[in-house]
Every structure is written in structure tokens, then in C-alpha cells.
């Protein structure tokens, strides 16, 4: 039990997917201007990351490895993720329109979100089992969401402050992300 707790905290804070592993930076900077949008994007990433990690794990274990096709990992994973995103989008639209309304527009963005593919790849490289994979993907997704919401909160406050013209927009977003990453370093002593 303790092992899983450490894995969870480690993936969420210590090795935060955005701030320490450099994954998913485009949406991190791109969708962190309003906290409402940040919550939607974060939710979509958690949802898709968990499903993608589980499915790619099964694909790797039961299709790629038995047939000696593991060199096609990249190709297989991206195709799985792309079709998964399409499928989830269609499913939500039909079955849960309320959720689709809040997550729908972020779903297509997720195909090119390297956090999702990155999580799936890390799980394979670390040779995790299925349960660990799902837990790790969930924790990493939550880590992404936390970082995104925090950054959005700060940027909302900054939007009404006077900043040098050249710093506005993406530059200040990146500098803030750097400072947050520095703050997250403090978690390194925790585990």
C-alpha cells in the first residue's frame, strides 16, 4: 500500500509531468490563461491519459511483444491514442452531452499533447504492471491538472497588472512556469 502511495505522490508532485519531466508544455502554456479553461483541459488530460496508458499497455503486452513488433511502438501508440480520442469524443457526444460540453473542445487537442503519449511511453520504459500503469497515469494526469490550474490562477491575476510590453503573453507564462518548477523542487526532499 505504502508503495502505491509513494508512487502516486511521486508522480503527482516530485516528478511532476510538466514541471519536472518537460511533457505537455504546449497546452500548459496555451490553455493557462483562464482557470475555467484550465480545469477543462486538465480533466480531459486525466481522462484520456488513464485510458490511453491502459490500452497502450495491453497493445504492447498482447500484440506488439508476442509478434516481435516492438520497434513499431511509436507508430502503434500514436494511432491508438488518435483513434481513442476520436472514439471518446463520439461517445461523450452521444452518451454524456453535459460532460462533452465541458471537455469536448479540448479532446482533439489531446492527440498532439505529448503528456498523454509521454505517460504511456514512460510506463513501458519502466516496465510497470497494469495496475501501476493506471495509477501512474492517473497521478501524472492529476499533476498536470494541478500545475495547469495553479499557473492559470497566477496568470489571471497578472492579466490586470502592468507588465513590460515585451513580457506579456507567452514570455511571462514561461518565466512563471520556471518559478513554479523551482517551487516544486522542494517536493524532492519529501520522498
Amino acid at each position: 500500500m505504502q508503495e502505491y502511495f509513494l508512487l502516486f505522490m511521486g508522480a503527482m508532485f516530485v516528478n511532476n509531468i510538466v514541471l519536472a519531466q518537460y511533457l505537455g508544455n504546449c497546452p500548459f502554456i496555451g490553455t493557462s490563461k483562464e482557470s475555467g479553461v484550465a480545469v477543462g483541459m486538465g480533466g480531459a488530460v486525466v481522462f484520456v491519459a488513464v485510458m490511453a496508458a491502459a490500452i497502450t499497455w495491453l497493445v504492447q503486452r498482447y500484440i506488439l511483444l508476442p509478434f516481435g513488433l516492438d520497434y513499431l511502438q511509436t507508430l502503434a501508440f500514436i494511432l491508438v491514442i488518435a483513434s481513442l480520442v476520436q472514439f471518446v469524443e463520439m461517445f461523450l457526444k452521444k452518451m454524456i452531452p453535459a460532460l462533452y460540453k465541458s471537455l469536448g473542445i479540448f479532446l482533439p487537442l489531446i492527440t498532439t499533447n505529448c503528456a498523454v503519449m509521454g505517460i504511456a511511453l514512460i510506463c513501458q520504459r519502466e516496465e510497470m504492471d497494469l495496475l501501476t500503469t493506471v495509477l501512474f497515469a492517473f497521478a501524472s494526469g492529476m499533476g498536470f491538472m494541478i500545475a495547469l490550474i495553479l499557473l492559470a490562477g497566477i496568470r489571471e491575476k497578472l492579466a490586470v497588472r502592468r507588465l513590460p510590453m515585451a513580457m506579456r503573453g507567452t514570455p511571462i507564462g514561461l518565466v512563471l512556469a520556471g518559478l513554479m518548477s523551482l517551487a516544486f523542487f522542494a517536493f524532492k526532499g519529501m520522498i
Binding site: L19, A20, Q21, Y22, L23, G24, N25, C26, I29, G30, Y71, L72, Q73, T74, L75, F77, I78, L79, A82, G104, I105, F106, P108, L109, I110, T111, T112, N113, C114, M117, G118, L121, I122, R125, P164, M165, A166, M167, R168, G169, T170, P171, I172, G173, L174, V175, A177, G178, L179, S181, L182, F185
Partner: protein
């Protein structure tokens, strides 16, 4: 000829990724802890980008618009796997250094973005020029950022010590916070330089480069569905 040069050269300054066209940030931040890694990643991106532009452009009449994104992904993923194999075969240490960021080239917005915004609408020769230009611009930027961080963070450049004994390396520069701050400050400096020029011409100042989603494949879909 003129047109060819125009498409090639725009990637070198006017639309220089990732500084002017803020795209594909993950590899930009992750692998620029040394100049060498930046250069290696850049080379891989040049290869994939140029070839994917070429193939997409060749097949542009064949690919039905409805499934074009899926086709782009399949094409670029194939090229990425090829680059992965070649890198393992001929430059294994670099492959180990870059880690999961080699397979992640496939989700780099630049690749899909150029397929969608340029290669799908233009003939092969122009598409190759565009891919080469963008790729070389990207490589130069990555190498520059990598050099800067390596010099400040470790006191070396391409692994050779360049700073004197007095220099105390700022370890933080080769780690994650340094990556974010360095890129942010560079973006701001470039915008500042542009604003000085604009002021001379009597134009209003602009704000820092924005994360340009317009030319990214996935984002284009969002814009459409909204």
C-alpha cells in the same frame, strides 16, 4: 526560384520556430540542457519534417480531406520510427540521452502543423523548401538555447570547458526551471528588439509572441468544431 527561397528563408527568421512560432515546446525545453543534445534533436526534426512535408505534398491529391489528420499522423509516425531505428544503429549515446523525446517527435506540433498549413496545399518542391527552412531554423534555435544553458549551467560548450576557473556554474540552468526561464526571457528579448524597430517606424508596440495554435493540426480542428 524566388518563391522557393522565400519559403525556405521564412523559417530562418520571420517565422523562426520556436521563438516566433511558439510551437513544439516540449523538446525545446527538455533536450536543450546541452548544445549537443539540442543539435541532435534538431537534426532528427529536420529529417522528419522535410520528409513528411515531401510525402504529404506528393500524396496531397490522394488524401481525402476528412481523414487527412490521420494520414499525416501515420506518415510522420512512420518517419519517426525510421529515425528512431537509424539513431539506435548509428548514434546510440544520443538516442539514450534524448530518451522518450525521440518517439515524441511524432506529437510535436511543428510536424503536423506544417503538413496541415503548408504541405497539404503546395507542390512537393515548395513543401521541401518549407520543411528544410523550418527544420534548420528549429535546429539553430535549439542549439543556441542549448549552448546558452550549457555555458551558464555547466561552464562548458559542446562538452569543452569555455569559462575560466572563476566561474561558478548556475546548476539550475541545466534543470527544468532554467529551461522555462531561459526561453521566457529570450522570447521577451526578441519581442523587445522588434518593438524598438517598430517604434522607429512609428508603429505601436506589440506584446510577446503568443503560443501560435493557428498552424497546428489538432488546434485547427478545434477552431473548426467550435
Amino acid at each position: 526560384m524566388n518563391r522557393l527561397w522565400k519559403e525556405f528563408s521564412k523559417g530562418l527568421w520571420k517565422e523562426l520556430p520556436p521563438f516566433k512560432l511558439v510551437l513544439g515546446l516540449c523538446p525545446v525545453l527538455a533536450v536543450t540542457n546541452t548544445a549537443n543534445n539540442g543539435l541532435g534533436m534538431g537534426m532528427a526534426v529536420i529529417a522528419v519534417l522535410t520528409l513528411s512535408n515531401f510525402v504529404v505534398s506528393l500524396l496531397r491529391k490522394l488524401i481525402p480531406p476528412k481523414v487527412r489528420i490521420a494520414c499525416f499522423i501515420a506518415i510522420s509516425a512512420t518517419l519517426v520510427v525510421a529515425v528512431e531505428l537509424l539513431m539506435q544503429a548509428f548514434s546510440y549515446p544520443l538516442y539514450q540521452q534524448l530518451g522518450i523525446f525521440v518517439p515524441l517527435i511524432v506529437v510535436n506540433c511543428i510536424i503536423l502543423g506544417r503538413s496541415e498549413a503548408f504541405a497539404y496545399k503546395n507542390p512537393p518542391l515548395l513543401a521541401v523548401a518549407d520543411g528544410l527552412g523550418m527544420g534548420i531554423g528549429f535546429t539553430l534555435s535549439l542549439t543556441f538555447l542549448g549552448s546558452l544553458r550549457e555555458v551558464l549551467g555547466a561552464g562548458t560548450l559542446f562538452g569543452v570547458a569555455v569559462m575560466g576557473d572563476w566561474f561558478v556554474p548556475l546548476k539550475i540552468m541545466v534543470q527544468a526551471p532554467g529551461a522555462f526561464i531561459c526561453l521566457g526571457v529570450l522570447l521577451a528579448l526578441m519581442t523587445y528588439a522588434e518593438n524598438v524597430q517598430r517604434k522607429r517606424k512609428g508603429l505601436a508596440a506589440v506584446q510577446g509572441a503568443t503560443h501560435d495554435c493557428g498552424s497546428c493540426g489538432g488546434c485547427a480542428n478545434v477552431a473548426k468544431s467550435q
